[in-house]
């Protein structure tokens, strides 16, 4: 793999406390939503890592944890080989000079009362001291040019509501670049945009990654865009990473039953054409994250669930170069014949 690791998650866990009502105050143990459990991965320079999962799987929480907007419950965030825990003030500024975040909704992430100039000026001033005059103008123009908003003077004095969704998201990206970061955390950067401009924004991000040698965490619920855009893909379900590997392998030869179903659920004109019956049902819905099921969290819905799946949490099993899945089906000790993905193929 290319590039050195800049930011890494090591067993990152986040539990949100749940308010107790009435009698529970006296009787029950404090409860928590297990939003993210024991997630580990590396972000490398010049490398896009995708985090795929359905709504509520904890992927946005991972982004906010990495941006240090929420405190961790346990685990470590390692920036340049140094475990970093920052709260407010100077250390937080130093951290977010390195790690910047792009929010999902460009209609909400820019303050309606400020101009584009204000947003970008702040991004420059927060991290580069009091830039003024000529230098500031140059900085603003180069930021807007980097995100292909040209000519810059046409955009600088506009208010967010005067721009389209794609333009706003570009401004949001420019604002993140204002800090000269090494890591970009993109929390569903294109999901709120019109389909016709998604590709443009993704290509812009890819271009920036190459020119500025950025490490990008790309969070999405669209596994097809992960295949297009990301070098590595991880799949999250109910707060845990259940499969990971390079994007081509994960999307073409998914190992975990959930990933297989996820890919099956994407409409594929070829498959429909061949008349292959698509048995893509996994009855039920994601488990309650307040009291997650013991064992594998996908077990209650999994068509291959065995007794063991309901009692013990599967560790990661390596499936060849950098591809792994957290599923008991790949435990070589328990099964003799090693049921690899070819025998597990759904609905074939």
């Amino acid at each position: 793999m290319t590039g050195e690791v800049v930011l890494a998650a090591r067993g990152v866990t986040k539990h949100f406390p749940v308010a107790r009502k009435g009698r529970q105050v006296l009787t029950r143990q404090p409860r928590a939503v297990h939003a993210v459990d024991d997630v580990s991965f590396d972000l490398r320079r010049g490398h896009v890592t995708a985090l795929v999962g359905e709504s509520g799987s904890g992927k946005s929480t991972v982004a906010r944890l990495l941006a240090q907007l929420y405190p961790l419950t346990s685990g470590d965030i390692v920036l340049n080989d140094v475990p970093t825990k920052v709260k407010r003030g100077k250390s937080f500024r130093a951290y977010c000079k390195q790690v910047q975040m792009i929010f999902q909704d460009p209609f909400a992430s820019l303050n309606p009362v400020h101009t584009i100039r204000y947003h970008l000026t702040r991004a420059l001033r927060v991290h580069h001291g009091r830039v003024k005059g000529e230098e500031l103008e140059k900085g603003l123009a180069s930021l807007l040019e980097r995100v292909n908003l040209t000519p810059p003077e046409r955009f600088l004095d506009k208010y967010p509501h005067e721009l389209s969704g794609g333009q706003r998201q570009r401004v949001a990206i420019a604002r993140a670049l204002g800090a000269d970061p090494t890591v970009l955390l993109a929390d569903e950067p294109v999901s709120m945009l019109d389909v016709s401009i998604r590709l443009g924004v993704l290509n812009l991000l890819r271009d920036l990654k190459e020119r500025l040698h950025l490490a990008i965490l790309y969070i999405t619920h669209d596994i097809a865009s992960a295949r297009y855009f990301a070098d590595t893909t991880m799949v999250m379900y109910a707060g845990q990473v259940i499969e990971g590997g390079d994007s081509e392998t994960v999307t073409q030869e998914p190992a975990h039953p959930y990933t297989q179903l996820l890919i099956r659920s994407a409409p594929d004109p070829e498959r429909a054409h061949n008349g292959v019956p698509t048995v893509t049902t996994a009855p039920g819905e994601p488990p309650s994250l307040i009291s997650p099921p013991p064992g594998c969290r996908f077990a209650p819905r999994c068509p291959y669930a065995a007794e063991k799946c309901r009692t013990a949490t599967p560790p990661r099993f390596d499936l060849g170069e950098s591809h792994y899945a957290a599923c008991w089906l790949y435990d070589s000790k328990t099964t003799d014949e090693h049921p690899r993905r070819d025998t597990v193929e759904v609905g074939a």
Binding site: K97, L110, P112
Partner: protein, 297 residues
């Protein structure tokens, strides 16, 4: 901020401007000393005394002109102090949350149930020469809590917005988040609560003067009504004694209410966009829908 002005707001602002002008220059343009007695006793409006005279021959027109200052000074000062207090306490409580929020909310709830008028009466009767500013302080101390509650609620909603979170992720400090990200989005509410408090303060100071609690040698519209009541002006048919002051109070209240309406319309972002220069009216059902006969096969 452009085009927030509509008919109502303009009317409100011009009446308000008129009264402010009177408050500034009233004591200079008054034709008589408002306290000076004369031999024209209880005369109806005439060329010499536009609004007539009192039982002791004082010129009512001069009293109304001079009295405007006390009313407006107390109203605006009390409104300003109360607004500053409510912004400080409400926005801080809403933004910080947790124990600070609990404490500040409890504080504003206590002030909310403090009965304003009795408290002011007690305070002013303890301090016999209570000037305009002291009365303004007491009124603002009892009048800030409503604004604080409204601002706290709105701040609670605003601090969760993505743009505040995004500014935090950019590396902004907490005070900058409050002052430059949250506060500008609260301006309309703050302005509206300021106007509301001014109305409350104006009515309070007039009430105080009318019931004779505030010092009656300081002329304001309430004082005029106090003397009119004392001399049983209505029973004597001296309508000119109380109607001008009453009309002024009503007009000032109307002006403030009109300004408030204007602000209310400005708060509503839907009204804001349609007021902005080009008039684009959206039609419901504007999206073209392609209908095929027989539906899809």
């Amino acid at each position: 901020m452009k085009s927030a002005l509509n008919g109502k707001t303009i009317a409100g602002l011009s009446i308000m401007g008129f009264f402010v002008l009177i408050a500034i220059i009233g004591s200079w343009i008054a034709p008589y000393d408002p306290s000076a007695m004369s031999s024209d006793i209880m005369t109806p409006p005439s060329g010499a005394h536009w609004f007539g005279t009192t039982q002791t021959g004082q010129d009512i027109f001069s009293q109304v002109l001079v009295g405007a200052r006390g009313v407006l000074v107390v109203g605006l000062v009390a409104g300003a102090i109360a607004t500053v207090l409510s912004v400080l306490i409400g926005v801080t409580a809403g933004f910080l949350g947790g124990v600070a929020d609990e404490f500040l909310s409890a504080l504003s709830n206590i002030f909310l149930v403090v009965p304003a008028l009795p408290l002011i009466i007690i305070v002013t009767s303890f301090l016999p020469d209570a000037g305009d500013f002291l009365i303004a302080f007491v009124i603002s101390a009892t009048g800030w809590a409503w604004g604080a509650r409204i601002l706290r609620a709105q701040t609670l909603s605003l601090r969760q917005r993505d743009y505040v979170e995004a500014a935090r992720a950019t590396g902004e400090r907490t005070w900058r988040l409050i002052v430059f990200e949250v506060l500008p989005n609260l301006t309309a509410i703050i302005a509206s609560s300021f106007v509301g408090t001014v109305i409350f303060a104006v009515l309070s100071v007039i009430t105080l003067s009318f019931i004779g609690v505030a010092s009656v040698s300081n002329w304001n519209w309430g004082t005029i009504l106090f003397w009119a009541q004392n001399a049983q002006a209505l029973a004597q048919g001296a309508w000119w004694w109380f109607i001008p002051a009453g009309l002024c109070i009503a007009l000032l209240g109307t002006a403030l209410a009109l300004i408030n309406f204007g602000i209310d319309e400005y708060v509503n972002p839907r009204l804001r966009t349609s007021a902005g220069g080009s008039k684009v009216k959206m039609r419901v059902g504007f999206t073209p829908v392609l209908r095929q006969e027989g539906g899809r096969s």
